[in-house]
């Protein structure tokens, strides 16, 4: 479903702030893979997701989604294949627009936007049903401004928007990191439900190693712009947080995981 071939990206080349964020990284995801991504600060996790999403062009390498080379496609064109949820709940939705308007924008992802009405009446029932499944009481607030919702509600809504028009690949960039533990658990649960029911190929960055082990069928660990550990199936299920910490210390030559990873232990 996704093939990332030897991509590299350097930010601010030729300056004192030069930072090689991705080094000759390759990754192949099979259809239906649910991959969790862990790694320290600056390991290149978000950079990898942004490279796939096309936030900027990579310096080298190729990105192929479902057999189509998207390396040169702009961000908004690639969006046709991708569902994205960001770390900051503010980023995924348009605050001054209504819940139904946000959903309607998402339903048209990958389609030409015409002079037809922005929301067809027939869509509202679909939205109400889907929102009801979230169990957040949003189904009766279709016209409420998204800016009035809580962070958790906004993330759940963004998740719904990302998957409303079934994406070939779902990119979740620490989408529960900004939420309180209870809300985070709930959003994560919703994530699993949606991914399983639609059989979505997913890349999820998380700083919570327990989640990384429990969720999905494959786990990759990143360090300094490379994948240093890639585990799946039974082996992944048997993993323990200690194993990951050990692995991390080993790979990064003793330098230990960042604070959040330690706390998540």
């Amino acid at each position: 479903m996704l093939e990332v071939k030897n991509i590299s990206k350097t930010f601010n080349p030729g300056t004192v702030n030069e930072k090689q964020a991705l080094r000759d990284l390759s990754l192949t995801l099979a259809d239906g893979d649910f991959v969790t991504v862990i790694g320290g600060n600056g390991a290149g996790k978000s950079t990898l997701l942004n490279a796939i999403a096309g936030t900027w062009q990579v310096d080298e390498g190729k990105i192929i989604i479902d057999g189509m080379d998207v390396t040169k496609l702009s961000e908004y064109k690639r969006a046709a294949f991708l569902g994205r949820v960001f770390q900051d709940p503010m980023n995924g939705t348009a605050a001054t627009m209504g819940i139904e308007e946000n959903l309607a924008l998402a339903l048209r992802r990958g389609h030409r936007r015409t002079l037809k009405q922005g929301i067809a009446n027939s869509e509202r029932k679909l939205y109400r049903d889907l929102l009801a499944k979230l169990n957040l009481g949003l189904e009766n607030r279709l016209t409420s401004k998204v800016g009035l919702l809580s962070g958790g509600q906004r993330q759940a809504l963004t998740l719904l928007m990302a998957t409303l028009e079934k994406p070939k690949l779902l990119l979740l960039d620490e989408h529960t990191a900004a939420l309180d533990p209870k809300t985070a658990a709930k959003v994560l649960e919703t994530t699993e439900t949606i991914v399983n029911q639609d059989h979505l190929t997913t890349l999820m960055i998380t700083h919570n190693m327990k989640d990384a082990i429990q969720i999905g069928n494959r786990l990759i660990m990143m360090n300094e712009g490379q994948i240093i550990y890639d585990v799946s199936g039974e082996e992944k299920k048997r993993l323990k947080v200690e194993d990951l910490l050990h692995k991390f210390a080993e790979a990064s030559g003793g330098a230990f995981a960042n604070d959040r990873m330690m706390l998540a232990k």
Binding site: R84, T93, Q117
Partner: protein, 324 residues
């Protein structure tokens, strides 16, 4: 007192004509989140195109339509500078505005062109504000035109394309993630906005009977003043997008009424622009001051933090933005 009363129809007409421009400013400033300075030039472009076409014997409606298209072209220029060439929006607008000075001069052939209301069939004029049959009354005609424009804009910003424009202005990261071509949205928004501004310039030219190379100087400030007054006075009652646009047009009328009143008080008219600038500056500062000095401190995680959503620049501004 009588002179003030007599000046009212004129103030209302001018307010309405500038109201169309203010609606254009509202679209870029509030919906696209761009302060577009093109308007200082495109207002005159509209006037210049309209007057030259009419002097050339063209029908008034056709001349106004041409002015609208010329205005859209100026928006296209700014949009091109901003998106394709990556120039910050405010600078892109200034560049277009400067370039337009030459273009407007060349269009008119000189700095000032007059048109005689007795010899040409104008749609609006100073003379048509009183003692004319009601269907020729400038206030009525411009008011009707504004209503037609608001209905059109209300429809447009409810379409798929219009919604993508609003999403772009509200959160362009989200817009791109949803497959919206944000560059196209911005260009389109700038075109619509400047089309309206030029249309306003075409009406203003007819109204005052001449087009002048400096007629657009400070137009952005008048536009912003109208937007701010409209929101301050009608913000709490008008929530619907169409009514908000109406509020902006009414804000423009209020601006001109106040201006007329100040003139009547006998203030030196040379100081009027300074007065406008100061008033608009203060109003623009209010959201920042509110969040800086009047926000309620709340306890969070043991330390005292001030309530402010998003970044300080957008406090109180983004949250109040348009809805349709």
């Amino acid at each position: 007192m009588m002179s003030l009363w007599n000046a009212l129809p004129g103030a209302v007409s001018q307010g309405l004509i500038w109201g169309i421009m203010a609606i254009g400013v509202y679209l870029t400033y509030r919906i696209l989140d761009i302060a577009d300075l093109t308007v200082d030039g495109s207002l005159c472009t509209g006037g210049a195109v309209c007057i030259m076409m009419m002097l050339g014997g063209c029908n008034v409606w056709l001349a106004m339509f041409a002015a609208l298209l010329a205005g859209m072209a100026t928006g296209l220029a700014t949009g091109f500078l901003h998106t394709f060439m990556g120039i910050p929006a405010i600078l892109a607008g200034i560049l277009t505005q400067l370039g337009l000075y030459s273009i407007n001069l060349k269009t008119m052939g000189k700095a000032n062109q007059a048109i005689n209301v007795d010899k040409f069939d104008l749609l609006v004029s100073l003379r048509f504000t009183k003692n004319v049959p009601f269907y020729k009354n400038t206030i009525l005609i411009v008011a009707l035109l504004i209503i037609v424009l608001i209905v059109f804009l209300y429809w447009f910003f409810g379409t798929e394309l219009g919604c993508s424009l609003r999403a772009t202005g509200c959160n362009d990261k989200m817009a791109r993630a949803q497959g919206i071509n944000t560059d196209l949205s911005r260009v389109l928004g700038l075109m619509i906005s400047n089309g309206l501004v030029a249309l306003s310039g075409a009406l203003l030219t007819q109204y005052q009977g001449f087009a002048d190379i400096n007629m657009g100087r400070g137009a952005i400030v008048i536009g912003l003043a109208a937007v701010i007054i409209g929101e301050a006075v009608f913000g709490r009652i008008f929530h619907n997008f169409g009514f908000r646009l109406l509020g902006v047009a009414l804000g423009s009328i209020i601006y001109y009424l106040v201006l007329q009143f100040v003139i009547w008080l006998g203030i030196d008219t040379d100081l009027l622009k300074l007065l406008s600038a100061v008033v608009v500056a203060i109003f623009l500062a209010i959201p920042t001051w509110k969040s800086r000095y009047f926000s309620k401190p709340v306890r969070k995680g043991g330390s005292t933090v001030r309530v402010s959503k998003d970044n300080p620049r957008s406090v109180g501004k983004k949250e109040e933005r348009a809805d349709a």
